[in-house]
């Protein structure tokens, strides 16, 4: 987290993503969140750095964990054009960290005597983290069970092609069979890796696969820190013995070195049992069902994207669009084209051009911005009272040619931007 935050700041992304745009794509149900001023945004990111340092050191641990979770989630909720599955993962893990006693041992809280030292953790503490990682892999694997991925090796065929200039392996990456091998291996890996990690006998080999798999994806695709998050995260599956050795290794540099006791895992204290178990069940149930909602919508989920976010659909599709917007004044019938680039950043425009909810949000933004204004181009001026907004959008999905996505015949202002099926989209042709 610390690394990721610093990377975000270092890349100048605060400016690009959160300050430069004058319009932000809020999440459904979160439109009420106030948008922070530029200086507050910098302060929030600084806060993230401080909180993550505190978490790592184990100082004021619980407060820091709560702070990190709230600030990180708040920033993520500001604009969905920056949505990434691994940010959602960080949100969930930081939420769980609030309830985990990761400051019990080897922390400054213990060092300063603010927390009684304990070298053990409860079984559920590890269990819930393993569960969360298992959810990510299993749903990612399930999502790969689609015809594009398995039978067309798309989008991997196209993506691997971008490595064609690499020395030695370059020519290999352009071979169709290589794309199929990657597709099927990736799918089997996601579906099965958790079970191999859980089994004592296969665990160490499975972890080897995790490292190789994620290093490969890191080399091949521009997916940021996600591979590293998973490589470190999955160490939770490794044996107590491994973690004890690591701790001992680090402790040997620590003043007043301590012995790490034999067993690190204890059972839950009986008094806490009922409440813990019920809260855990709610969390587990949510994690197991929420990603499935996409399957209940009609149509192709890649096309409609109903239930696509927050469901571990990772690196699954190549989708790009061109969106042309038009304002029409119903009184005079006069119409004018509007370039999205005048109102959005390149990233926002790219995301918006192929995502239905964002197309509607942007249309709503244009409507508000141009209502009761005079549009001036050259010597021409005309007044828009209550403009209707239309869009003509073309989308190309997984190597297919582009096809009509939104027809210009629909007044976008007449469509509710909600969770109902998106019947206003044109039909997807295979």
């Amino acid at each position: 987290m610390l690394f990721s935050t610093i990377r975000f700041i270092g890349n100048g992304w605060i400016e690009d993503f959160y300050i430069e745009p004058d319009f932000h794509f809020s999440y459904y149900g979160f439109g009420w969140l106030p948008y922070p001023s530029p200086s507050l945004i910098y302060a929030l990111f600084a806060g993230l750095v401080v909180f993550s340092v505190l978490i790592v050191c184990g100082l004021f641990y619980r407060l820091a964990a709560i702070g990190f979770f709230i600030v990180f989630t708040y920033i993520e909720l500001l604009d969905k054009s920056t949505y990434l599955n691994h940010y959602y993962y960080v949100t969930l893990i930081s939420f769980l960290l609030i309830f985990l006693p990761a400051n019990r041992c080897f922390s400054l809280d213990v060092f300063f005597g603010m927390k009684k030292k304990s070298e053990t953790v409860a079984a559920w503490h590890l269990g819930i983290l393993k569960f969360q990682i298992g959810v990510v892999y299993c749903f990612a694997g399930l999502a790969k069970l689609n015809s594009d991925w398995l039978f067309n090796a798309q989008p991997l065929k196209m993506w691997l092609h971008t490595a064609h200039h690499w020395p030695l392996v370059g020519p290999l990456m352009t071979q169709d069979w290589v794309a199929y091998v990657f597709s099927w291996t990736g799918c089997l890996f996601d579906l099965s890796i958790v079970f191999f990690l859980l089994s004592r006998r296969t665990r160490i080999y499975a972890y080897g696969f995790v490292v190789i798999f994620h290093l490969l994806t890191w080399l091949l695709f521009p997916i940021g820190v996600f591979p590293w998050v998973m490589i470190v995260g999955t160490t939770i599956f490794l044996s107590e013995n491994f973690h004890r050795k690591v701790l001992q290794g680090i402790t040997s540099f620590w003043p007043g070195r301590s012995q790490i006791s034999a067993s690190l895992i204890e059972n839950i204290r009986p008094s806490l049992k009922i409440i813990t178990v019920s809260l855990l069940s709610v969390y587990v149930l949510f994690q197991l069902t929420f990603p499935l909602r996409g399957y209940f919508y009609p149509g192709d989920i890649f096309w409609t994207e109903s239930g696509y976010r927050f469901s571990w659909r990772v690196m699954l599709m190549e989708k790009a669009g061109s969106a042309y917007f038009y304002l029409r004044d119903p009184e005079t019938g006069k119409e004018t084209e509007v370039s999205p680039g005048e109102h959005l950043t390149a990233l926002q425009e790219k995301q918006m051009s192929s995502q239905p909810d964002m197309i509607l949000q942007f249309a709503g933004h244009l409507q508000k911005k141009y209502a009761d204004t005079v549009i001036t181009t050259g010597h021409s001026t005309f007044r828009m009272r209550n403009p209707e907004v239309y869009a003509e959008v073309y989308v190309a999905l997984n190597g297919r040619r582009s096809q009509l996505y939104v027809s210009k015949s629909r007044n976008l202002m007449a469509i509710n931007n909600d969770l109902s099926p998106r019947i206003w989209l044109e039909e997807f042709k295979e």
């Binding site: 196209m158 521009p222 790009a320 181009t377």
Partner: protein, 326 residues
């Protein structure tokens, strides 16, 4: 592909543009030394030639060209005739200032050399009160263009060609990505600035004749056609490896549709639609909404093909967001 595009497309177009600007400046000096119908006619010919050459090199607006801000300095229009006149009257100005961006470049020359009939133009450079200043302004403009373009060519002939070829791959910042982004952006510029805005697409259907390119010389149709042929030449890598070959390579031989062929065909279709328009856009646009609309729609289709189908297939990211006007 990069090697061929650099050596067969970009560098030759830059060389031609460079000598066109040299000739433009030489003719401007000859004209101001001896203002008459012949030198004016020579200067105008050099001007049209430079403007045409520019349509073949403006889409390479990255690397050295971007560093020197060539595209905006050469071709921001409509030109601001009032501030040109104010500069001339004042006799002192900073041509590189942001305020003067629409008082310089080829559109400013377009105004100076074509604002009225031949006699009117010659009078402004001979008997009018500010004639001396006007001659200086003219040669200052041509000198500025020439001296700003020279280093761009020098860098391409020097180290930049190798830099360009070494930045392979398709990541943001790679040469293919830069080339592609400027290529698509220039098509959008053609769609919006050269055809759409004058044709009324951004003004509720009202045509705006003063918004055409090269308004005073009436060369807008020639420029649009040259621009399309320059873009096609870039797409095809002249006669060597270009985007078309790259697309063929990625989509494979068993592909059901041929994107490269469709894009090439779309270029040809646009050319036909442009050819069908009247020769002076500023006049034709007032009466021929349907003709301009037809050309506009075909260029839009080309934008979709490149910005969506081609970007998606080649794994290229559109990284620009300003798409309206120069």
């Amino acid at each position: 592909m990069l090697e061929n595009v650099a050596s067969a497309v970009i560098i030759p177009s830059y060389e031609t543009m460079n000598s066109a600007l040299e000739s433009l400046h030489t003719n401007a000096i000859a004209f101001s030394a001896n203002v008459d119908a012949t030198t004016l006619s020579n200067l105008r010919a050099a001007f049209v030639d430079a403007y045409i050459q520019f349509q073949h090199s403006k889409m390479f607006n990255f690397g050295p060209a971007e560093d020197y801000g060539v595209k905006a300095a050469m071709d921001t229009y409509p030109t601001d005739t009032a501030s040109i006149e104010a500069n001339i009257t004042a006799g002192s100005y900073i041509l590189g200032s942001a305020a003067n961006i629409d008082a310089i470049g080829l559109p400013a020359l377009d105004y100076l050399l074509y604002f009225g009939g031949d006699m009117e133009v010659l009078d402004q450079f001979t008997t009018a009160p500010a004639a001396a200043n006007r001659k200086i302004y003219l040669t200052d403009l041509t000198l500025k263009m020439k001296s700003e373009f020279q280093p761009v060519v020098d860098q391409w002939n020097g180290t930049y060609a190798a830099t360009f070829q070494e930045a392979d791959g398709v990541d943001v910042g790679s040469s293919t990505s830069l080339l592609f982004n400027e290529f698509v952006q220039d098509i959008e510029l053609l769609k919006n600035a050269q055809i759409g805005i004058p044709g009324g697409q951004f003004s509720g259907g009202e045509p705006l004749q003063e918004m055409v390119s090269a308004y005073f010389s009436g060369q807008s149709k020639t420029l649009a056609l040259e621009n399309i042929s320059g873009l096609l030449n870039c797409f095809k890598g002249a006669n060597g490896l270009g985007f078309d070959d790259y697309i063929l390579d990625v989509q494979g031989e068993d592909a059901q549709t041929d994107l490269a062929a469709d894009i090439t065909a779309q270029f040809v279709l646009i050319e036909a639609k442009l050819n069908a328009l009247g020769s002076v856009f500023s006049e034709d646009v007032m009466t021929n909404y349907s003709g301009f609309n037809a050309a506009f729609l075909e260029i839009k289709k080309l934008v979709t093909y490149t910005k969506t189908d081609m970007a998606s297939l080649l794994g290229l990211l559109v990284t620009y967001s300003d798409s309206d006007g120069d």
